[in-house]
């Protein structure tokens, strides 16, 4: 099975749609939805670094996302820094938080990793909602988060902001591809397959895990800054554990551990939600039913299942060709 050719086949039409969308005279709503999907996709890709590549279920990613959002909001509003500095700070904040979490969370594994990250992020949420009110605005949040400002370009315009986010998204995708193919990425894949073996080969497994976690946190922080900028608003709800729950579900829906899985998962989730909520008032329950059915019948997620079909098809084709020649 040739995964990278599969990724290319899947990526090309997605890239084409993303590039052409602004020229088709879409409504503001379409552009906003597309922007939202890309931002959440960045978050899901960041999350999948830990989930798909390391195979660890983290409930702490809401913290990285939320801190990223708050970093941008505070940097631009309170300290008057430019947008770019705010976004950089958001990445640093996400990474720093992940680094801090890693000291606690990486001491344990399996289900305990999920529980420790859940407890840590929930603690942060409670603090943000109550004691840190002066910084976070409490449950009311902070309105009026900045949009990027570049040489007089008005990023309040949905189309321009869309291009901005698309550029960031493309950069993140490219970075992920490079990282996955790098020696570092191969070591991570090796750790996932067999941790003991990797350790015996002389790799500092803990260190690799920690770095992956930090990278994942940084990407999530970036997504948080973009999300706050899109909504022009940030509140502690971003830090709540249900945000982590959402990203887990989206990633699994799309296919954990695959390149495009998180992206497709977010797209499917958001479109499904919009469509269902327009179609019936019982959309919540129906969404639940869809989760249940997807877990039962498409455990590998949309992209995972597709990839498998594609692999089978290629094998069959190869065999047939072999017979002919």
């Amino acid at each position: 099975m040739n995964a990278s050719r599969f990724d290319l086949w899947l990526g090309l039409p997605l890239a084409a749609i993303a590039l052409l969308l602004p020229f088709t005279g879409p409504s503001d709503f379409m552009l906003n939805l597309a922007t939202l999907v890309m931002i959440w996709a960045v978050f899901a890709i960041g999350f999948d670094f830990v989930f798909g590549l390391l195979g660890m279920v983290s409930f702490g990613h809401a913290s990285f996302l939320g801190l990223g959002g708050y970093a941008l909001a505070l940097a631009t509003q309170m300290w008057g820094l430019p947008f770019c500095a705010g976004v950089s700070l958001a990445i640093v904040a996400g990474a720093l938080c992940a680094w801090l979490f890693s000291f606690f969370a990486l001491r344990v594994s399996g289900i305990f990793f999920a529980l420790v990250t859940l407890a840590l992020s929930q603690l942060l949420y409670i603090l943000a909602d109550s004691k840190l009110r002066a910084w976070t605005g409490g449950a009311d949040g902070l309105p009026g988060v900045a949009r990027p400002g570049l040489g007089g370009i008005d990023f309040f315009d949905s189309t321009l902001f869309y291009w901005y986010v698309l550029a960031v998204f493309a950069l993140v995708m490219a970075a992920v591809v490079v990282l996955r193919r790098s020696p570092f990425g191969r070591v991570i894949a090796g750790i996932r397959q067999n941790e003991t073996r990797a350790e015996q080969l002389g790799f500092d497994v803990h260190r690799y895990k920690q770095i992956t976690f930090i990278v994942s946190g940084g990407i999530s922080g970036l997504a948080g800054a973009l999300l706050a900028s899109l909504l022009m608003y940030v509140n502690p709800q971003m830090l709540h554990w249900t945000t982590s729950g959402d990203v887990i579900i989206m990633t699994l829906l799309g296919g954990a551990g695959t390149l495009w899985g998180p992206v497709i998962g977010v797209l499917a989730f958001e479109v499904l939600k919009e469509w269902l909520s327009g179609w019936t008032q019982y959309w919540y329950g129906i969404l639940g039913l869809i989760f249940i059915l997807a877990t039962l019948f498409f455990p590998k997620g949309i992209v995972g299942e597709l990839q498998e079909r594609y692999g089978q098809w290629r094998d069959k084709a190869a065999r047939r060709d072999g017979r002919i020649s």
Binding site: I17, L20, L21, F23, T24, G25, P26, S27, D28, F29, M30, N32, L33, L36, I126, D129, S130, R133, G137, G138, A139, D140, G141, P143, G144, F156, S158, L231, M232, Y233, N235, Q237, M238, V271, E274, W275, S277, G278, W279, Q281, Y284
Partner: protein, 397 residues
């Protein structure tokens, strides 16, 4: 009246397909309809209030034959799940669908978030439920108006109640939330000035589920009044658990927004005798209210809640103002509404204050009593009506 609940199925996929075919889906700007975007909570903590607001608005529209400026009115309802992020998302979507006014939300956090978008996109925004004083401040948003009560009004009535009942020792319990904390601090300051002793003050986290320790502390204190600065589930839990040790038998329980029929239904018998500010009440005696209550009962076979009444009142006022401008210019509507007075509101006279976009109005103070059908089993009785100058500070620039 055309009422559409959210978007049609397939619109999204359709739009995507159309977009991809380069057909272009330009937003038709010509006002063949008056579109209202309603962002309310239809699920989550305040789901019940959103549902009632929808009912109120629908009666308001029906009463005017479903039309304004000679065009049919269409309301697109969206559910913000009682969370600000979906509220922002849904508002952005509604604005791109070309709504002429945004109505909502329920929770103050959502309303404040919406307020900023409305300001930036220059779309009028009508608030009839959220009570946070931050929504209407001088030099706030040109586009946001509130026709309903503020927490500031309710806290003044609570203070006045304290003085009138000659309560001497108050125990305060406050939800650990900025608006309620501010409100409590104001009350505490003013009460102490009036010679009232504050014998205890507790701040419980929002969403707290057990108040029995606090109730026990109050029961053991010598307080003769219990001031509760909280609402929603917190209020229901607190009052219900206070009832379990009959706290209300020996002490006056009251609060700015501690009770209405919706909350009393969750509390049960323990809600009887609890005093609270009331946003709107179906028993208000004036022709406009009689007409509304009758229409509401006919349509829904129930009495309007305060959420429904406030929503009806604000929306009717807004639509009448729009009608009077005879124009489709949003700026004209905003300017007209800024200076409008509603003599025949369901709560008596209401006057919009240009400086902060808050409607000056009477303050209603009520107490929960046993209701007689068709009223709910536990229903508010208006105990006192405060004139506007008693519940509002002059607007300070």
């Amino acid at each position: 009246m055309v009422t559409r609940i959210k978007t049609r199925p397939g619109r999204l996929l359709g739009a995507l397909a159309v977009s991809l075919l380069f057909a272009g889906s330009a937003q038709a700007a010509d006002p063949d309809k008056f579109k209202i975007g309603g962002v309310v909570s239809l699920s989550g903590t305040y789901g019940i209030f959103g549902e009632d607001m929808r009912k109120g608005v629908e009666v308001a529209i029906e009463q005017r034959g479903g039309k304004v400026l000679g065009k049919p009115i269409q309301v697109i309802w969206e559910d913000d799940e009682t969370k600000p992020q979906p509220a922002v998302q849904k508002t952005t979507r509604l604005i791109s669908e070309g709504v002429q006014v945004i109505f909502g939300a329920v929770s103050s956090a959502s309303s404040i978030a919406i307020m900023n978008i409305a300001k930036q996109r220059k779309i009028p925004h009508l608030v009839t439920m959220s009570a946070d004083d931050k929504i209407t401040v001088p030099h706030g948003s040109r586009y946001t108006f509130r026709t309903s009560n503020t927490l500031g009004m309710e806290q003044r009535m609570a203070l006045s109640f304290t003085k009138e009942q000659k309560l001497k020792r108050i125990y305060g319990v406050t939800a650990d939330y900025q608006a309620t904390r501010d409100s409590w601090e104001w009350y505490r300051r003013e009460a102490e000035k009036a010679g009232v002793e504050i014998v205890g003050a507790d701040f419980a986290p929002l969403g707290n589920r057990d108040y029995s320790s606090i109730v026990d502390k109050i029961a053991r204190s010598n307080a003769d009044g219990v001031a509760l600065f909280m609402t929603g589930s917190d209020a229901v839990t607190m009052v219900k658990q206070a009832g379990q040790v009959d706290l209300g038998k020996t002490r006056k329980i009251f609060g700015p927004v501690i009770a209405d029929e919706t909350m009393a239904a969750g509390v049960g018998p323990a809600s009887i005798g609890v005093y609270s500010g009331v946003r709107y009440h179906f028993s208000v005696d004036n022709p406009a209210n009689h007409k509304f209550v009758e229409a509401f009962r006919k349509k829904y076979n129930e009495l309007p809640s305060s959420a429904a009444g406030e929503a009806y009142d604000g929306m009717s006022w807004w639509l009448d103002t729009v009608e009077q401008t005879g124009s489709w210019d949003k700026e004209k509507w905003v300017t007209a509404f800024e200076n409008s007075v509603r003599e025949n509101s369901v709560e008596g006279r209401k006057a919009m204050r240009a400086c902060d976009h808050q409607a000056m109005q009477d303050g209603l103070w009520g107490v929960v009593e046993k209701g007689v059908a068709p009223a709910p089993a536990y229903t508010m009785k208006i105990a006192k009506v405060f004139p506007p100058n008693a519940v509002f500070d002059p607007c300070q620039p």
